[in-house]
């Protein structure tokens, strides 16, 4: 009986996390379009519901009622599996994100590695979708995307090593608690910038949205998808963006910690601070989409391998020597 109780309790906890995440993904799509519109002096979606808040729900409804078209020459199993993989991987990563000291679904010892592993699996949804469509544009988009994501993962990995050197633990709660006195964005500011740009590339956001560059590849790996399956790709992509913002705020902006440990600030509940930081990073993402032109593919690769990777490697050496020299290494 108690096992059953624990089982249902876990399910309730998962639902309590995932439903808000899915709702906020819908809201974040609206926010993205709104910010984009304001930069370009348009109004953006403002018709459905107050301020157009329900625009995404209306869009989702439209997608659900559209016909799903599966190309005759596609590999049907993998074609259907691809959006499911994208969506699932975007959601399971939220299991380890700590919203406060106690509010975390799974407080595992290797939390940051888990996040890194899940985000490196994200490329499969795209490759599978592109290959299974059995068509030129999706395939080219998938190949581009795979190369891009693998390259930028390397630099993200090195940046994570930088943070871990200052923390001494792979646990996400420990990473946040280590920033109690000083957020890592201050000593590791260059790494924060590189992480932000790599996160843009990792989530295929403009200016690195080459896998779906409409001027060259129609819609990249999504070309053959329609209806609900397209919507799943789309939601998975935004869930991934939100996740990258969450990782960024945990690694560099002090997670759930309040900026000043004084009364009016630390009275605000911890999850609110994390959500505010995620929103801040997301608005930066949205602004970048509006103001920066798309990169050329060779420029993208050059930036990843020839600039970011050596720079973050040198920064690892610098951080390590600094910590060693001033005897600041987190001991055990």
């Amino acid at each position: 009986m108690t096992e059953l109780f624990i089982f249902f309790e876990q399910i309730y906890r998962i639902l309590f996390l995932l439903v808000p995440v899915l709702v906020s993904v819908a809201m974040i799509v609206w926010l993205d379009r709104r910010v984009w519109a304001f930069v370009q002096k348009r109004r953006g979606p403002n018709v459905v519901g107050p301020f157009g808040l329900f625009q995404t729900l209306a869009d989702a409804l439209k997608y659900i009622f559209k016909e799903i078209i599966i190309p005759a020459s596609s590999n049907k199993v993998i074609f259907i599996l691809a959006p499911i993989v994208t969506m699932t991987l975007a959601l399971i990563a939220w299991a380890v994100i700590p919203f406060s000291e106690t509010f975390v679904l799974a407080d595992i010892n290797v939390g940051i590695l888990y996040l890194f592993a899940v985000s490196s699996l994200g490329v499969y949804g795209i490759i599978m979708g592109g290959w299974a469509s059995n068509s030129k544009y999706p395939f080219l988009g998938a190949i581009r995307s795979a190369a891009q994501m693998v390259s930028y993962e390397v630099s993200i990995g090195v940046i994570i090593i930088n943070v871990l050197l200052c923390v001494g633990s792979l646990n996400l709660s420990d990473i946040v608690l280590a920033q109690k006195d000083l957020w890592f964005v201050i000593p590791l500011f260059p790494m924060f910038i590189i992480f932000f740009i790599s996160a843009l590339a990792e989530t295929n956001r403009p200016p690195f949205d080459l896998p779906e560059a409409e001027a060259e590849l129609v819609a990249g790996y999504q070309t053959e998808y329609s209806g609900m399956m397209y919507a799943m790709f789309w939601l998975g992509e935004y869930a991934n963006i939100l996740l990258m913002c969450a990782i960024g705020s945990i690694l560099f902006l002090g997670g759930w910690l309040s900026p000043i440990d004084l009364f009016p600030f630390n009275a605000i509940p911890a999850p609110i601070w994390l959500i505010l930081k995620i929103l801040f990073l997301f608005i930066l993402f949205a602004l970048i989409k509006a103001i920066v032109p798309r990169y050329r593919y060779d420029q993208l690769m050059k930036l990843g391998w020839k600039i970011f990777l050596p720079f973050s490697l040198i920064y690892v050496v610098l951080t390590a020597s600094f910590l060693m020299y001033f005897d600041l290494l987190p001991g055990n």
């Binding site: 592993a117 490196s120 190369a147 060779d298």
Partner: protein, 210 residues
């Protein structure tokens, strides 16, 4: 504990079935996907025995990087057709003897290793390191690798470096006539390098691209 056993058997069953499917399935891309499934279930098994660091590294390195490159190669080159030819050709393949030899050697190696465990348990004890349950997995691994086995660890790093350089040397080729972008050149370009005022004589024209 029963739930633990059930989950263990589920993961091992998936691992074995997908390992068989890697060799059996006719479509090469499907083979790679089954290989990925195999990697994932094995990393789940690692996590189940408490080796969470190894499990995650397995996911990151094998699934996140190595299998992606496999997929790349399999999708770009038309390996599928070649494999089909092997399957369909009735004649004897020249690869079979070599493959058989390699698999027999691996089989005997496995027998020697497992037999050693079974008949000489003290073999295992002498090299086993005491497990400290207070430390996390990552810390205990690091404290062993970077102290007792530092030489082997560094050497394996050097082997990987040599392999990487070798791969680059093998595939590197210098092509002529490729136009490369140099940010430095672009930025340091000045007006006087770009613009030239020429007095053109009537009916003569100017030679551009000199």
């Amino acid at each position: 504990m029963i739930a633990h056993a059930i989950v263990f058997y589920i993961f091992s069953l998936i691992a074995i079935v997908s390992a068989i499917m890697v060799t059996v399935s006719k479509n090469t891309v499907n083979s790679v996907f089954f290989l990925i499934l195999d990697f994932i279930s094995i990393s789940c098994l690692f996590i189940m025995i408490g080796a969470e660091f190894l499990g995650m590294i397995m996911l990151i390195v094998y699934v996140g990087a190595v299998a992606v490159l496999f997929l790349f190669v399999v999708m770009m080159l038309n390996v599928a057709q070649q494999k089909n030819e092997w399957f369909n050709s009735s004649g004897t393949s020249s690869h079979i003897p070599i493959g058989l030899l390699v698999s027999i050697i691996i089989f005997f190696e496995l027998i020697i290793v497992i037999g050693g465990w079974k008949y000489k348990p003290e073999l295992l004890d002498s090299i086993a390191i005491e497990i400290n349950t207070d430390l996390t997995n990552t810390q205990s691994l690091g404290s062993v690798i970077y102290t007792d086995y530092i030489l082997v660890f560094q050497l394996s790093g050097m082997v990987l470096l040599v392999a990487m350089i070798g791969a680059i040397v093998l595939t590197y080729r210098q092509r002529s006539g490729v136009k490369r972008q140099s940010y430095f050149k672009q930025i340091s370009r000045e007006r006087k390098d770009g613009i030239e005022l020429v007095d053109v004589e009537n009916n003569k024209g100017v030679k551009i691209d000199a």
